[in-house]
């Protein structure tokens, strides 16, 4: 240790990390910011992390809706139960649509990283079509239920079902609007740093919606017909 470091105030000395916690085999020291060394994290990291925290809070909100559904699923008030109204073929197609759109959204992220505008726009358009297909199928299901008088006002089970699945559908609809916005912004503003950050957040949002749908189709639909 040099004299300069030894005489420096304690707060300014580099913190020793004898066990190299979080520095896998990186003996020369990590330059990763955010641990009090190396300066502030780049904006891209801060924005992504902040949006990650938002997504986790959104998932907690969905957890509350799932809890409500789990508690109320028996309260059919002599109305239809899940076994009577769920059409698993539709659910399978919806699941396929959303999973594929998540994959194509990943392609859009890759195309954006490689700065390939045409591939990006094509992948985003594919993501939009698959997401819109999902939404159309879900709206058809809801319309059929409402037409038969099995709306959210029929029973506690249907109230919680419409709230949970409808909330996910609203998220998908908002995501589709955001998707179109990002296509337009990349088209008109190009690969600017702020546009790249927004698109990264959109991709996070879209993948998270697919994770929530995994819980929806398992807990609501598949376990609902057991």
């Amino acid at each position: 240790m040099s004299d300069a470091t030894a005489n420096a105030p304690i707060a300014l000395r580099p913190r020793p990390d004898p066990n190299h916690l979080g520095h896998t085999g990186n003996r020369e020291g990590s330059r990763a910011p955010g641990r009090g060394t190396g300066g502030p994290a780049p904006k891209r990291i801060v924005v992504g992390y902040g949006f990650w925290v938002f997504i986790l809070s959104d998932i907690i909100m969905f957890a509350a809706l799932f809890a409500a559904y789990a508690v109320l699923r028996g309260g059919t008030a002599d109305g239809p139960s899940g076994r009577d109204i769920f059409d698993l073929d539709t659910v399978a197609i919806e699941t396929g649509c959303l999973l594929l759109s998540s994959f194509v959204c990943g392609l859009a992220t890759l195309a954006l990283s490689a700065r390939r505008a045409l591939l990006f726009q094509a992948a985003m358009a594919g993501t939009f079509l698959l997401g819109a297909g999902f939404l159309a199928l879900e709206m058809r299901e809801f319309a059929g239920l409402l037409a038969r008088g099995d709306g959210p006002d029929r029973s506690a089970f249907l109230s919680s079902f419409f709230t949970l699945v409808g909330c996910h559908g609203l998220h998908v609809a908002a995501g589709l609007l955001w998707l179109l916005t990002m296509m337009a912004q990349v088209l008109t503003k190009g690969f600017r740093a702020d546009i790249l950050r927004r698109t990264m957040c959109f991709a996070l949002f879209w993948h998270a919606l697919d994770i929530i749908w995994v819980a929806v189709f398992t807990i609501v639909y598949l376990m609902g017909v057991l």
């Binding site: 891209r44 990291i45 907690i60 809890a67 890759l110 996070l204 993948h207």
Partner: protein, 141 residues
């Protein structure tokens, strides 16, 4: 400060920096990233198909089907987190994993706690018919 700025452009500098979830590290090569997404898609599709198959066939002992479905769902969420959101165990992901762990804790508390408490109440409280007035809701004899 200069390397912090250049990290926004991506490239090799990112190797030692924190990463954001879903970040592609600004790589120029589509092929390497495509491989990850393809593996993720394959595994997720496999798990989805497995869920539907388990439900519609006699492959799994009937009382164990809900458990099997939950296992498949959690596995698929893990696949999505790893291959689509790029959550890893690496040191650059510590912050993301800690936030995720906290989120999972709250989700487990909210869902598990609600189901537990409401199940207890359903078992231990007097059944109340739809015609029973609320005033006589006290436990009777």
């Amino acid at each position: 400060m200069s390397d912090t700025v250049s990290q926004d452009e991506g490239g090799d500098q990112r190797r030692h920096a924190d990463t954001a979830p879903g970040d592609e590290f600004g790589q120029e090569d589509i092929g390497a990233g495509l491989r990850g997404y393809s593996i993720g898609l394959g595994l997720a599709a496999l798990l989805t198909v497995a869920s539907f198959v388990v439900l519609r066939t006699q492959l799994v002992w009937a009382p164990a089907i809900p458990l099997a479905l939950i296992v498949f769902a959690i596995a698929q969420m893990g696949v999505h987190l790893v291959f689509f959101l790029h959550i890893t165990t690496g040191p650059d992901n510590t912050n993301n994993v800690m936030a995720l762990a906290f989120g999972v804790l709250i989700v487990v508390l909210v869902v598990g706690g609600s189901v537990w408490i409401m199940g207890n109440m359903n078992r231990n409280m007097m059944p109340m018919g739809p015609t029973a007035p609320m005033e006589s809701g006290m436990p009777g004899h």
